[in-house]
């Protein structure tokens, strides 16, 4: 008696290859943590041996207390009150410098929120048309120039 053989299948099964590949795509997509890639830009002034002398009286000084309270030109103020306070001064003199001076033991986030608020001045006020000249002197600069 002759045994009937099945014809030998000589192809590599590739139909599941796509499933494997898509599974890999999905695995990598799920495990990828997205890096935070946005933030507030801040141009550092060029280090100058003879920096332009800014009279303290000409500028607006925003001090940040350790508790996060703000003192603008010796007057306590809320964050939202800063722009209305600055508005008439900046209309008078758009180049008026605004100095942010956080207390060394104040949390960093308060300085960032003040910077954020000042940078939005042109959006929040119709009268302020130029970007505010913000400067955040470092402790070393304050010691070198002011005292």
């Amino acid at each position: 008696m002759k045994i009937e053989r099945d014809p030998v299948d000589d192809e590599i099964p590739t139909s599941s290859m796509a499933d494997i590949a898509f599974l890999l795509i999905i695995y990598f997509m799920v495990t990828t943590t997205f890096a935070a890639t946005r933030g507030l830009d801040f141009a550092l002034p060029e280090e100058d041996d003879n920096p332009p002398v800014v009279e303290k009286e000409d500028s607006v000084l925003i001090e940040i207390q350790p508790s996060g309270e703000l003192v603008v030109d010796q007057k306590p103020m809320q964050l939202s009150e800063i722009i209305p306070y600055l508005e008439p001064k900046l209309v008078n003199n758009p180049k008026k410098p605004v100095i942010i001076r956080p207390d060394p033991i104040s949390p960093y986030k308060y300085m960032v929120s003040v910077l954020d608020e000042l940078r939005q001045a042109t959006d929040k006020s119709t009268q302020i048309t130029e970007d505010i000249r913000i400067s955040v002197p470092t402790q070393r600069e304050i010691e070198a120039l002011w005292f």
Binding site: S113, D116, T138
Partner: protein, 139 residues
């Protein structure tokens, strides 16, 4: 005369599906930007947030004041204090004078720590820094 009706082919060709999928994998792998710094920080929140250029150098400050630096290509490494940041930044600026620096600092860290780093970057003649932030929840 009776026409012999042809048998219709009823399979969808799936042989190239794997090629397409692998092409997608390779595309995603090439376009993925690697996170150079894995420090866990509670970022401060801002309304204004601008895209940070790729390959920017990182200075990370965690809530304990630990500083880590990365030139934007290698994983960040711990450094001792702000003076080390100055020498690191000076090296980076020497190769690329327009390199942007990103300060990734915890919102609750004392400002003095950030101040020391900013001072170091200023002295290293860095032109532009970015303060990494999260989107503000309100408004």
């Amino acid at each position: 005369m009776k026409l012999a009706s042809r048998e219709l082919e009823s399979t969808i060709p799936t042989a190239s599906m794997a090629d397409i999928a692998f092409l997608l994998i390779i595309f995603f792998m090439l376009t993925m930007t690697f996170e150079v710094d894995k420090t866990k920080v509670q970022l401060p929140q801002t309304n204004l947030r601008y895209e940070i250029p790729k390959k920017a150098a990182y200075v990370a400050i965690d809530v304990q004041g630990q500083i880590k630096v990365s030139n934007g290509e290698e994983l960040s490494a711990s450094v001792g204090n702000a003076d080390d940041v100055l020498s690191f930044a000076a090296t980076v600026i020497a190769t690329d004078p327009n390199k942007e620096f990103v300060i990734k600092a915890d919102g609750n860290v004392d400002y003095a720590e950030v101040d020391a780093v900013m001072d170091a970057l200023k002295r290293a003649k860095v032109k532009l820094i970015y303060l990494l932030s999260d989107a503000a929840t309100q408004g």
